[in-house]
């Protein structure tokens, strides 16, 4: 692609924790929402060890497939200026969660709608970490869409075992497991956009 040369990426480093995560960052909808699902998992390195200093961001369509989002993910307390998070009136479509000391992350949201006719819905994911010089993109597809995904022309070049790294596993109680493996066996499919 031509045009202005881009500013290079650099790692998020180890010390983003007091700057980027915000209150309620993983709650795109509250757990009490009647359609709420939980998507959660671990981020693993090439030795299979959980990564405690990664940051996961999600961007997604609303239930109707709308991709307009809304401001207000980082609403401020008007008195002391601290970030109190969203009001859950508007659907912002954006989540940001750091991994825990055990490499675990979780978001609560609603299943995304199809963003265009015949599209297979998904959560767009960006992954940042200390040691990762340039962030990575992947997608979370829900297992009920796995069949549609395998026919999706945008990803038709991928073998089934690779494609499956982008499909969450159904657990109990509207809970889905999605692990992100940065390297090695079961390495997650990461995406570039052109």
């Amino acid at each position: 692609m031509t045009g202005l040369p881009p500013t290079p990426a650099q790692t998020v480093g180890p010390f983003f924790g007091y700057a980027l995560p915000f209150t309620g960052g993983g709650d795109i909808v509250p757990i009490s929402h009647p359609d709420a699902i939980t998507v959660h998992g671990y981020v693993f390195d090439g030795a299979g060890q959980p990564i405690p200093d990664a940051l996961v961001e999600i961007w997604q369509a609303d239930r109707d497939g709308g991709l307009t989002g809304a401001p207000g993910s980082l609403r401020h307390d008007p008195v002391d200026g601290s970030v109190v998070g969203r009001d859950h009136v508007e659907f912002t479509g954006f989540a940001r969660v750091p991994t825990d000391a055990d490499g675990h992350w979780a978001v609560r949201t609603v299943p995304p709608g199809a963003h265009s006719a015949n599209a297979t819905p998904y959560l767009a994911v960006a992954v940042f970490a200390r040691g990762l010089l340039h962030h990575l993109y992947t997608r979370v597809y829900l297992p009920e869409h796995a069949t549609a995904l395998s026919a999706d022309p945008a990803l038709s070049g991928l073998p089934a075992d690779r494609l499956s790294t982008m499909v969450a596993a159904a657990e109990r109680d509207r809970r889905y497991r999605f692990d992100i493996r940065l390297q090695g066996e079961g390495e997650t499919v990461f995406l570039a956009f052109e």
Binding site: P8, Q10, T11, V12, A19, H134, A154, R162, L182, F193
Partner: protein
Amino acid sequence: MSNEPSQRDIDTQIAEQAGRTGLDHPSRDYPAYRSSLLRYPTQALTVIRDPEAVELTGPVFGVTDVTELDHDLTQGGFAEPGGQRITVTGVVKDRQSKPVRGQLVEIWQANAAGRYAHQRDQHPAPLDPNFTGFGRCLTDDEGRYEFTTIRPGAYPWRNHRNAWRPAHIHFSLFGTAFAQRMVTQMYFPGDPLFPYDPILQSVTDPAARERLVATYEHDLSVPEWSLGYRWDIVLDGPAATLFEEDGR
């Protein structure tokens, strides 16, 4: 002798990759930055050319997400923070030179002594109770951002023996497309630590590396108040964003 590499070992690894031109971004596989060893994918990225992709849109932010005070990292304490007050400003554009308007810019950094307000930074430099170390703002209609802060200090880290990071400010940026998301670091001109730092040197093309360095601009300095630096940012992203002129 420990297994800890020396600066000379790291210099050798940096030299092996130096001058690989034509790459705008760091290679994720960059051995001199030892934390990268187990954290880069070994499979090629899967290229998506779907003009309907969700990633061609992105989250939006507004006045509820940022307060007027958030762009000034020197406010909020009971006194002025230690160190040299600076103003950092610039324009965020996409590769078609279109300004990125109304989008969120976040920064975080060490204080003047090189210490982060993070419990995992335990090196013996003082914390500064009058310095928050993080800020955010929205770009204006011309794509401009501005922060008032303190010039950060260099700090030691454990990549290798006697490893020191050049002074830098971490930046997080959003474009109109999630595929334009960017996290990077801004450096200060003339820092003698540049050649020793594997994170900066991971950008192997000298011209690309230069784009991470702010310029001192005397007209941006405010008398009796702050020194001015300009750092313009160009967000990478898919060509498809070109056709989103009307956006939202």
